[in-house]
């Protein structure tokens, strides 16, 4: 039996040790916003935030998350009430097919919280572990850049005071 808090909601579930956190979120909790691309840590689509740190949900077993607090893309905002980073992605055309977007957003949140992101180079290096086959990255960098300047971000971009 494991206990986790996901986007502020507590869950208790019995899981097989080999169940990946990504599959747990998708199949046990029905939170299909977390995408699964490569299952080897390379593409970043499955990135979620666990106890305040971005992690690959495909390289973590659900049993390892016992007791953890997890944020997924569903916790960022809703269609009617987008989080500022999501809003920026929309405004800057930072997504096309959207497959990489949940991972880009969760990585972006962690980068905005942890690094000053003073230069585009820093943003690009921060995103180097997330693959996008559509946008060419430029617009994703611009979207994140546009949010760095805003005072709300870095403290509570996901409504999560740290």
């Amino acid at each position: 039996m494991i206990a986790v808090v996901v986007n502020g909601v507590s869950y208790e579930r019995a899981v097989e040790p080999r169940m990946l956190l990504a599959d747990f979120l998708r199949y046990e909790l029905g939170l299909t916003g977390t995408h699964v691309g490569c299952e080897q840590g390379v593409c970043g689509a499955c990135t979620v935030i666990m106890n305040g740190d971005s992690v690959r949900a495909c390289l973590c077993f659900a049993v390892q998350a016992d007791g953890a607090e997890i944020e997924t893309v569903e916790g960022l905002g809703t269609v009617d009430d987008l989080n500022p980073l999501q809003q920026a992605f929309q405004e800057h055309h930072a997504l096309q097919c959207g497959f990489c977007t949940p991972g880009m957003l969760m990585t972006g949140v962690d980068l905005l919280r942890k690094y000053p992101l003073a230069t585009d180079r820093e943003i690009r290096e921060g995103l180097s572990g997330n693959l996008c086959r559509c946008t060419g990255y430029e617009h994703i960098v611009r979207a994140i850049r546009s949010v760095v300047g805003r005072s709300v971000v870095g403290r509570s971009v996901a409504g999560h005071e740290r």
Binding site: R18, L20, G41, D53, Q64
Partner: protein, 271 residues
Amino acid sequence: MKPPAFEYLAPRTLEQAVAALGAEDAKILAGGQSLVPMLNFRLLAPSLLVDITRIPGLDNVDDWDGGLRIGALTRHHALETSPLVRDRFPVLHAAMAEVAHLAIRNRGTIGGSLCHGDPAAELPGMAVLLDAQLQTTQRTIPAAEFYDGTLSTVLGADEILTDIMLPALPPGTGWGFEEFARRSGDFALAAVGVLIGGEVRIVAIGANEKPIRLLNAEALFNDASDIDAVAEAAGKEVSPEGDLHGSAEYRRHLVKVLTRRALRAAWERTS
């Protein structure tokens, strides 16, 4: 793919962990950033994973006689941001910036990287360069004697790496670290670390089956006028293998160029 089935234990003490590792085909799980991909590929099928990350006290960075004692469970991101590491071992601080991507650095541990032993990984190379002493549940092993091949260490099946001890460097030691990778955060095609202190040390990463000191090249170094000759010798001293990312010849060339740059940087930083 999905990993094969296994049992899972998360002991709270080293004693319990060692006892659990007595089971046949048991495997240690730390940050999982190398082990879980191998499980997902089904390259491994352990009967039991012993998760050591719930054992307290193994993730500190402390003073060790002017050097540092680093707990095996210290995450890459903690090393990357540690002021003690930056001040005492700037070469390690520089290398940490090249290790994988943030989400991987948030999970991966120094102990896991050393025990996985990827020949292109930065931390095993840093351990050799900094003459680390590796403390396990059974003994202390010098970093230079830790690997017996690619992805292979001298550790026993129920032996756990607990601490990495880095001896203090002589004051005024100059350092250089140069890496070439296709993309920021990828494994190095080649990397070179250099220290110029009481002696000169040159370590090549990604150019042999394990990180090695380039003793022949080191012996040629007296001062800055030798840098080109030392770099030339370094390129000859490694024996890289070619793969789809780069031929053996290309990697030799990289070692030569990176050695030259790292030596120059180290020489300029000596005081």
